[in-house]
Amino acid sequence: MKKTILSAAIGAAALGLASAASAATLDDVKAKGVVTCGVSAGIPGFSNPDDKGEWTGIDVDYCRGIAAAVFGDPTKAKFVALSSKDRFPALQSGEVDVLTRNTTWTISRDTSLGFNFRTVNYYDGQGFIVKKSLNVKSALELSGAAVCVQTGTTTELNLADYFKSNNLQYNPVVFEKEADATTAYDSGRCDVYTTDQSGLYAIRLKMKNPDENMVLPEVISKEPLGPAVRQGDDKWFDIVSWVHYAMVNAEELGITSKNVDEMKTSGGPDVKRMLGSEEGSKIGTDLGLTNDWAYNIVKLVGNYGEVFDRTVGPNTPLKIERGLNALWTKGGLQYAPPIR
């Protein structure tokens, strides 16, 4: 999401300086007894502390899912809060085992930074929020508008690209911090505010009068957010990826944390295969885990839909629609290869 030029530079330096991190992450994780995940230092719904100080959010639950798969215990997840500058060096140096931190999957990160991405636990995209009083129905009508934007992020670049390619004039009002940009927009300093759509939902909560604002239909960038691991450890990469696929498959098959015990014995062959109750199944052990790995994920953390609803969905103040994150069977993009 927020890729600063600095972070890219540091990440590149990291690649040159750090020796290749140890290849057998799974063994390290098992030896430590805890999986260490890099999360953001506070993005509503993705990773933020609750009243008790426990981390919650969709990225946090992904990490808990990995802990459930490896240890059968979601509490064996340790979270390291990372700023967008710190995140790549932290993964590169082995301070974290996996980066479940709201990170956009791009080719440069996949290649030159030396990371691997495969799953997308949240499809995001950059959008605009405007005052209704402007009477604007589309971003193409925004010519000449003052746009509040956070500096040093791809958001700023996307904005410039979009306005340039559509031959529109605009007047950027840049801020160092997201909070300042939001406040400025809310107090009328600019006509438009732009950031990732998940961020727009969070910002509505901080507005004096959310109903006076509307989100424009245009989504001007692709921001597939997913976990990253270091290159060169395919086994660990498989585990991290299949944790997500297990959650998505569970939702598709109708397995939830509530009915998983029942489904384990009474479900169809595909359900039993996934939950490890099929005779002679080797799926879990081939992955380097136990055969009840998927059962543990669903039982202890939940399927993808449950996690989504609990962290960012309708049961939360954010009230984000499934949209692109719906299952492929329901018009979304969440599609998981079969477990067989």
Binding site: P44, N48, K52, G53, E54, V80, D86, L205, K206, P317
Partner: protein
């Protein structure tokens, strides 16, 4: 010719009279201080108007319209924002501070183990209070307990060991971390600063050069850079699998940083001591260390108490910079909790910042008052 003497000598003293009303009492005070000249009058009226304009609104926002209890954002948001307050009402959301209070104090320290930081705090206060009152005897033992034994005990109490469960520093946070960082910084920087200051004035070229280089390098780098280097770059240079505790990195960074500043403050005091004092001590046959300990330092430090406390206060506030390396001190944890969508309202961030600001002010003001007291107490006549 009879002459009448016109001389008069009063035999009894007149009783003391109160000063005439014109030059005493409230009306005089007002007249001379607030309305002495037309310019004063205009300024006074402007200032009063400003206060009348600002204060009622502030009190209203902070206390009267404020929300004191609640379990989530609905308590602090107006109807239009998805809450229960009538539209147009805006007040501080103290319910947010209440819900997060434990976190603001201890960070994510496990709830069942929070007696440990509380015990440390109690021990700290028990040892600190007698240390601060000049009349209480046994300062030497007290200092030993406070600066050497207590940190040692606290370390094991907080991190675990000897049957206590292990609580990694990753989970520490809030005011606890702010106080640990500043206490450690203060405790280390004063002696280290004294040594560096003496070293810088030393006749021995190697020691002198080392001290000058250290002080000038550290003073030439912003604290943010020191912390950022320690957190981002250091892990890349260390061998694989080596992790260096983040809190430890911050502690070291903050203390060496404060030491360099402290050294310059102390050096200022050393330079203010008249040459006669050094020569007097020499002529008594005192060794270098006797001279320094008994004659020079007591006078030098007394002279620079305001600057020392100034450095302490600066250090206390600088600790909030550790939030850039992913540690959550008081300010960091307040900011972090603003990302909790369950409490996200237009007033929550401001309330959080006011709370953090108030706590910081409380400690800094306390330090400043104590230093003023110490200055009066130690004022044994150096007025020129």
């Amino acid at each position: 010719m009879a002459t009448t003497s016109s001389t008069f000598v009063r035999q009894d003293m007149l009783a003391q009279q109160p000063a005439p009303l014109g030059i005493s009492g409230p009306s005089h005070w007002f007249r001379t201080r607030l309305f002495a000249t037309p310019k004063d009058t205009v300024l006074t009226i402007l200032a009063l108007a400003l206060l009348v304009y600002v204060i009622p609104g502030m009190i209203n926002w902070l206390f009267i319209d404020a929300v004191w209890t609640g379990s989530d954002r609905t308590a602090c948001a107006t109807v239009i924002q998805g809450g229960i307050l009538p539209d147009g009402q805006s007040g501080a959301c103290w319910a947010f501070v209440e819900a997060k209070f434990q976190q603001f104090m201890f960070g994510r320290y496990p709830a069942d183990e929070r007696w440990r930081p509380i015990l440390v705090a109690v021990l700290f206060v028990i040892l600190l209070v007698p240390m601060l009152i000049p009349k209480v005897p046994h300062k030497g033992w007290n200092a030993l307990a406070l600066f050497i034994i207590l940190p040692f005990i606290s370390f094991f109490l907080l991190i675990g060991g000897f049957g206590l469960s292990h609580v990694e520093t990753q989970l520490w946070g809030g005011l606890m971390v702010t106080l640990i960082l500043s206490f450690f910084g203060i405790t280390v920087s004063l002696p280290l600063g004294i040594i560096l200051a003496l070293g810088r004035r030393s006749q021995m070229p190697v020691i002198k050069t080392l001290c000058v280089v250290f002080i000038e390098i550290i003073r030439g780098i912003p604290l943010v850079t020191v912390l950022f280097m320690a957190s981002v770059m250091l892990p890349l240079f260390l061998p694989d699998g080596w992790t260096f505790d983040k809190l430890l990195r911050a502690l070291i960074g903050v203390s060496i940083f404060a030491s360099a500043y402290m050294a310059e403050v102390i050096r200022g005091g050393l330079q203010a001591i008249p040459k006669g004092q050094f020569e007097g001590a020499d002529s008594l046959g005192l060794t270098y260390w006797q001279k320094t300990r008994l004659i020079i330092l007591p006078q030098a430090i007394k002279l620079v108490i305001p600057s020392i406390v100034n450095t302490f206060i600066g250090l206390f506030k600088d600790t909030s910079l550790v939030s850039i390396i992913g540690m959550f001190d008081l300010l960091g944890i307040v900011t972090l909790n603003q990302s909790d969508a369950n409490w996200s309202t237009p007033v929550t961030p401001v309330t959080g910042y006011i709370f953090a600001g108030f706590i910081f002010w409380l400690f800094c003001f306390g330090m400043s008052r104590y230093s003023a007291f110490m200055e009066r107490h130690l004022d044994t006549g150096h007025r020129h």
